[in-house]
């Protein structure tokens, strides 16, 4: 169990160990949904919400059900099961109470289920032996980090929409190049604190 204050983990998971820029997780929806700021913000908030809750749920399931029965090897299956069920639940809630956002996210909402960042955070939590509080701050921080990443990318993409780019680079091509440049920029934060 690392002796790091949960707030340090929270800060690090947003900036120095950002899921997108340092681990390159959740790239599929990051590239697909980062065209417009409002949609990107919606997906980012949904990912943050799902990440925060599923990390806590997976922590409880792992430590209170799987460890006592010696079933740690089932973590992949169980974590995926919990995430899938929770995203279904979120979809129902959004469809009912946040209709605008539900329509704006469209088919990307179910895709949160297969967003690697969500599973990645739960697995990192186990590998790094985090406590409950550390996991909670790690989950929320990673979600906010992912939100920051997709919002920054959507901001940049909305500015370069009219840019005279070579045809082959438009869309995902330039997005990946920008992601690489942003990842390098985020390395600048890594001197502040390291959690992995």
């Amino acid at each position: 169990m690392p002796n790091i204050h949960p707030l340090v983990i929270f800060f690090a998971s947003i900036f120095t160990s950002n899921m997108v820029f340092s681990n390159f997780l959740g790239m599929c929806s990051f590239i697909s949904v980062s065209k417009e700021i409002p949609t990107a913000a919606g997906l980012g908030i949904a990912v943050t919400f799902v990440l925060s809750i599923t990390t806590v749920l997976n922590y409880l399931v792992y430590h209170y059900i799987m460890v006592p029965f010696g079933l740690e090897y089932l973590q992949y299956i169980v974590f995926i099961l919990v995430i899938a069920a929770f995203v279904q639940l979120l979809e129902m809630i959004m469809e009912r109470y946040m209709e605008q956002l539900y329509y704006a996210l469209g088919i990307f909402l179910p895709l949160i289920t297969v967003n690697c960042a969500i599973l990645g955070v739960s697995l990192f939590m186990v590998i790094r032996n985090y406590t409950f509080m550390q996991s909670l701050f790690f989950g929320v921080g990673s979600g906010l980090g992912w939100l920051l990443a997709i919002l920054s990318m959507a901001g940049i993409r909305s500015r370069i929409k009219e840019a005279n780019l070579p045809a082959g680079l438009r869309g995902p091509g330039i997005t990946l190049i920008i992601t690489g440049i942003m990842a390098m920029a985020f390395i600048g934060f890594s001197g502040i604190v390291q959690i992995s």
């Binding site: 399931v61 059900i65 799987m66 029965f69 010696g70 079933l71 089932l74 299956i77 169980v78 099961l81 919990v82 069920a85 279904q88 639940l89 129902m92 809630i93 469809e95 009912r96 209709e99 329509y103 469209g106 088919i107």
Partner: protein, 364 residues
């Protein structure tokens, strides 16, 4: 052994808790209560909200054609939504053109009914029925085409126009785990209310494999219909009927209709096939020649060789049209076959100065 049991038990308990949670959410969060569904400005129906428009209409016994069973891939289930449909969804955009979307056309399988909704559908869809039919005949008329005869439920009020089609449901079977609907033209008489006949050619697809390899006499199958705007039109013009393969089905139905109603119009049926083995129902067609006012069956074979017993016409159907159809005559044409065949026949009919308004076709 103990580890296996514990593993299974734990996974089962976790999955059960999650399933229970989702079921409760479905019951309480996804419960949209009752809403009003107005169809063609008729008296509104009260329906429970939360389901797709396609299944809501199905619950009301109004059947919209849907070959893919509501997966949003066939694009058949389009309806015009005048009010209460919400914004068009990403899953509809590939099948609904911008012009259709501007006119309120939506895919009923994707649109969820959550508010009061007002839609417009063709009146004839009110005649569509869904029923279980029993197979009472399954003869091979060629090596690859089966003539399926079904007995309809005694209390069913099923009416169709000669030329229309039904959808047959192929349930999951060994080798196919999905349920699919496929469209087949009706080959029987519209006057025979107790039975239905379909001509189903084997293509190796899910539904044709089901019919040819699994469905047998005594089995029941789900059918819904009738659908389609390809059907016999009243009038006094001469009639040209053109088909190939199982495209013969609606033509046979039209001929039944002409015989049942003693319609006195000149009719010529050009049937295109490859070899003599591909010709079928010849006896029935010869009988129609005797029974109808002025009807001739004119098959033409495209791949006949000198060693085959054949003294009829040779070549493609276009050649027969060139030979038998008089230029500028007063004709109404009914064509049923592959898109390529129909396009080429339409071209030949245009050369005979038969206008588009007099040409009806069913491409499959």
């Amino acid at each position: 052994m103990e580890t296996i049991l514990i593993t299974v038990a734990v996974i089962t308990v976790i999955a059960a808790i999650l399933a229970l949670l989702l079921s409760l959410a479905d019951k309480y969060i996804a419960d949209y209560g009752d809403v009003e569904l107005t169809i063609n400005a008729n008296e509104p129906l009260t329906v429970s909200a939360g389901n797709s428009l396609l299944s809501t209409l199905r619950d009301e016994k109004i059947f919209i054609p849907s070959a893919c069973g509501g997966k949003g891939t066939c694009g058949y289930c389009k309806v015009k939504v005048l009010e209460g449909g919400g914004p068009i969804l990403a899953t509809e955009k590939s099948l609904v053109t911008a012009e259709e979307a501007a006119n309120g056309v939506r895919l009923s399988c994707q649109l969820k009914v959550k508010n009061n909704i007002h839609i417009e559908i063709p009146e004839e869809l009110f005649n569509v029925r869904e029923f279980e039919a029993e197979v009472i005949g399954d003869d091979h008329v060629t090596k690859t085409i089966k003539r399926m005869r079904f007995k309809l439920p005694a209390d069913l009020d099923f009416n169709f126009k000669p030329g229309q089609y039904v959808q047959l449901k192929a349930p999951p079977y060994e080798g196919s785990d999905e349920e699919v609907y496929r469209a087949y033209s009706i080959a029987s008489s519209a006057g025979d209310h107790g039975h239905l006949e379909l001509l189903i050619g084997y293509t190796g697809g899910i539904a044709t494999t089901y019919v040819h390899q699994h469905l047998k006499q005594g089995d029941t199958v789900d059918i819904n219909g009738p659908y389609g705007d390809f059907y016999y039109q009243d009038g006094d013009s001469d009639i040209l009927l053109v088909a190939a393969g199982t495209g013969m089905a609606p033509i046979i139905s039209i001929l039944h209709h002409m015989r049942d109603n003693n319609i006195q119009r000149k009719a010529r049926f050009f049937f295109g096939a490859k070899t003599p083995d591909d010709l079928f129902m010849t006896d029935e067609l010869k009988q129609f020649e005797k029974d109808l006012y002025d009807f001739k069956y004119l098959p033409t074979l495209s791949r006949v060789t000198d060693d085959m017993a054949w003294d009829g016409d040779r070549g493609r159907v276009n050649v027969s049209i060139e030979k038998y159809v008089e230029d500028g005559g007063n004709y109404t044409a009914y064509l049923c076959g592959s898109p390529q065949m129909i396009d080429s026949i339409v071209e030949s009919l245009h050369q005979k100065h038969i206008p588009d308004e007099a040409i009806f076709f069913d491409k499959f």
